[in-house]
């Protein structure tokens, strides 16, 4: 009896020790999440119902901030459309290009490692440096792009001050900057596709295109789905490139929701309204993600 209870106690002590060890391992991340993410997020929700210039006591304003968004703010619809327009330009382009590059760099070619490095380099470049270089490339009079166009007899345009071309230019720079990151993830996805599937397809007489269409794309769909979600979230949060390259101009043609949130909160002293806009952004991203999660069963293939 004594021996049994002693053994049980030892067992309990061990289990308890393991429990607390586990808790300790979890604590840094959990506490960090609670303190630096969850609490500020909940505080921002509360603040969206207040007027607060960042100092002093916030004044309760009910739904006024949300009302202002849809009825009193002349810029709101413009920045919302800019954000959606950028997402429509960025997401498909970055996915197509990174998949293309992923396919290229997984082939057994001489010097493929160098290409991998070169394609990944822009990811390591700072946004400020990239923005400055592209400002020069896109310059109307002294830019590289227009110079090259003139060499082949074409007339360029003022890429960054033409309202029709400025957002595609911003999207292009973002794609250039991020394509390497997505390429690496696609590469990992491509390398995990079992080789026998391709061998079987080849034996059945499948061409390269058919192998791509019926083996690669379905087998890569979980990776594609993951990148679709993350690239969409990234695009809705666009800030750095716009801030460094165009400052939101000209005439607000590139002002996006996040740059506007910064303007409103930190430059115009309307933290409450900024929080309301942030929550709208959260809802938009949530809805888009939820729709994609719902639709994934129709095209994402997790099993072989």
């Amino acid at each position: 009896m004594t021996a049994y209870s002693g053994q049980r106690r030892r067992c309990m002590t061990k289990r308890r020790r393991e429990f607390w060890a586990g808790m300790l391992f979890l604590a840094p991340n959990t506490l960090g999440f609670l303190l630096f993410t969850l609490v500020p997020v909940l505080a921002s929700l509360a603040l969206s119902f207040f007027d607060w210039p960042m100092v002093g006591t916030p004044t309760f304003s009910g739904l006024e901030n949300f009302q202002r968004m849809f009825t009193g703010d002349v810029k709101f619809y413009k920045v919302l459309w800019n954000t959606i327009y950028y997402t429509l330009l960025y997401v498909p382009t970055v996915l197509v290009f990174s998949l293309g590059l992923g396919l290229l760099i997984t082939r057994k070619l001489r010097g493929v490692l160098t290409f991998r490095l070169l394609y990944y380099l822009p990811v390591l470049t700072s946004y400020v440096a990239a923005a400055m270089v592209f400002q020069w490339i896109f310059n109307n009079d002294f830019g590289l792009l227009n110079y090259l166009l003139r060499c082949i007899g074409l007339q360029g345009t003022n890429w960054l001050t033409n309202k029709a071309t400025v957002m595609p230019c911003v999207a292009f720079v973002s794609v250039w900057k991020n394509v390497g990151r997505y390429m690496i993830i696609f590469m990992a996805g491509l390398q995990s596709i079992p080789k026998p599937l391709y061998e079987a397809a080849r034996i059945d007489g499948a061409t390269f295109w058919k192998q791509f269409r019926y083996v690669t794309i379905p087998m890569l769909s979980p990776t594609t789905f993951f990148l679709l979600i993350t690239s969409m979230i990234d695009s809705f949060k666009l800030f750095d490139i716009v801030w460094c390259m165009t400052g939101g101009g000209p005439s607000d043609a590139t002002r996006t929701l996040v740059t506007y949130i910064y303007n409103v909160s930190f430059q115009n002293f309307r933290m409450g309204y900024g929080c309301a806009l942030s929550w709208l952004l959260f809802v938009i991203i949530f809805v888009f993600t939820a729709v994609q999660m719902k639709c994934q069963s129709k095209w994402v293939q997790y099993d072989m």
């Binding site: 009079d141 002294f142 801030w243």
Partner: protein, 437 residues
């Protein structure tokens, strides 16, 4: 006779310097505290301020000053600290945005400090021109002390002027001379592509204020209640700039720049344009430009009055709610005093606001290329902006829109100017009612 005049002049300078020296700094152990000074700019700016703080701490051994150079994160950091109830004790203040911060409760009102320190008021504040220090007053309340100043000059590329055989700009230049020279300095290649422009106007109006000021338009009226960007003078200025871009083609369509920067892929420093108004904060950087350049006075509108520069004074404010207001006040005072401004000039941080410092070696060494006598003259005759709260909103929602439409898209000047002034006036009306955000 000349010798006598020289002696008189030297005596006068010595006397004026001597009179400022009445505010002598002595070791003070009564004031204590640990204060942080928050600034923007590159890290070297923080290092320079640390050296100034070290001298201050020799006078105030019980005060510890920490320099926090937040760089591009300045606004976010300043606001976040204020929101958290732990404001920066001393903070660098921008001439256009400071009023907004003050009205939204970020800075202390310095009137009481000034009233309790009549010696400082008489020896320093009263000697700084009204057009410089008024920037840091809102409704007779002082919220910052003008510690440094920057003025604009017409920077010109001597190599381009020499090649085109155009005489260098000087104090006799008017807008007509500028336009004429800009046209002569513009070059095109055999395909009709412009390879060199005569002048460059940015799409940031703050850098073009001097043109408006010299035509009698001050953007915001002196009583800070109305916007005059639709006045005949302002419309004439807009039109003059627009014509040079879209009619003459001697100025490029302004490029997009980020964060209100004056630099772009085609600004003066790139060597693609012959002339541009630039602020004196660029003097140290311009020392290394790979071409010969000079700085000339701001051209007069029509020669009837000498041209003068708009200015960008920077001040030091005390963060609202600092636990060490006395220590902060002493530090702000020190940096604004002659000794502090001398150190600022020696470190090359900015130009001073006190005239006495403008005759020192430290000031003269501000540039080995630009004529520092000209910079001094500009500092003594310049005018700071009529700053109002909600400047960012005014700029972003109305003025920048008008600038883009007029200068980039060649829109009708009168219509744009009227729309812009209407919008700004509406905000100014709200400000009069005490709506500051």
């Amino acid at each position: 006779m000349k010798k006598v005049l020289c002696v008189f002049l030297m005596m006068a300078i010595l006397l004026s310097v001597g009179s400022v020296n009445a505010l002598a700094w002595e070791v003070n152990t009564e004031v204590s505290g640990e204060i942080t000074y928050l600034t923007w700019g590159e890290p070297s700016r923080g290092d320079s301020m640390q050296r100034i703080a070290d001298v201050f701490m020799e006078y105030y051994p019980n005060v510890k000053v920490t320099i926090d150079c937040a760089g591009d994160n300045f606004t976010t950091k300043f606001m976040t600290l204020a929101a958290a109830g732990t404001p920066a004790d001393v903070v660098l203040v921008n001439e256009l945005y400071g009023t907004g911060y003050y009205c939204n409760g970020m800075y202390e009102n310095l009137n009481t400090f000034l009233e309790q320190d009549p010696e400082y008021k008489a020896e320093v504040m009263d000697k700084i021109p009204d057009d410089v220090k008024n920037v840091f007053y809102w409704k007779d309340e002082c919220f910052a002390l003008p510690t440094m100043n920057y003025v604009f000059s017409l920077y010109y590329n001597k190599d381009m002027f020499d090649a085109a055989g155009v005489p260098y700009p000087d104090e006799t230049w008017t807008w007509e001379t500028v336009r004429d020279a800009a046209n002569k300095l513009t070059k095109k290649d055999e395909n009709g592509v412009t390879t060199q422009y005569g002048i460059y106007f940015t799409r940031e109006i703050v850098y073009e204020f001097s043109w408006f000021y010299n035509n009698g338009s001050y953007i915001i009226s002196d009583d800070r209640t109305t916007c005059d960007l639709d006045s005949p003078a302002a419309i004439e200025t807009w039109q003059w700039m627009q014509d040079m871009i879209h009619e003459d083609g001697c100025a490029p369509v302004p490029d997009t720049t980020a964060g209100g920067s004056q630099l772009s892929a085609m600004s003066f420093d790139t060597g693609n344009v012959a002339m541009q108004l630039f602020g004196s904060w660029m003097l140290p950087t311009y020392e290394t430009l790979p071409f010969n350049w000079g700085a000339a006075p701001i051209p007069s509108k029509d020669g009837s009055k000498p041209g003068f520069s708009s200015s960008c004074p920077n001040g030091f404010a005390i963060g609202k709610g600092t636990p060490y207001p006395e220590a902060a006040w002493e530090f702000v005072k020190f940096c604004t005093s002659e000794e502090g401004q001398m150190l600022i000039a020696e470190e090359g941080l900015a130009q001073p606001t006190l005239e006495s410092v403008m005759y020192t070696d430290a000031f003269q060494k501000g540039s080995s290329i630009a004529d520092m006598d000209l910079i001094r003259e500009s500092l003594l005759t310049c005018k700071g902006p009529n700053a109002v709260p909600r400047w960012n909103e005014i700029l972003q929602n109305y003025i920048s829109v008008a600038v883009d439409n007029i200068l980039i898209y060649d829109a009708d000047v009168e219509t744009e100017a009227k729309q812009c002034a209407e919008g700004v006036n509406q905000i100014l009306e709200e400000i009069q009612q005490g709506i500051y955000n």
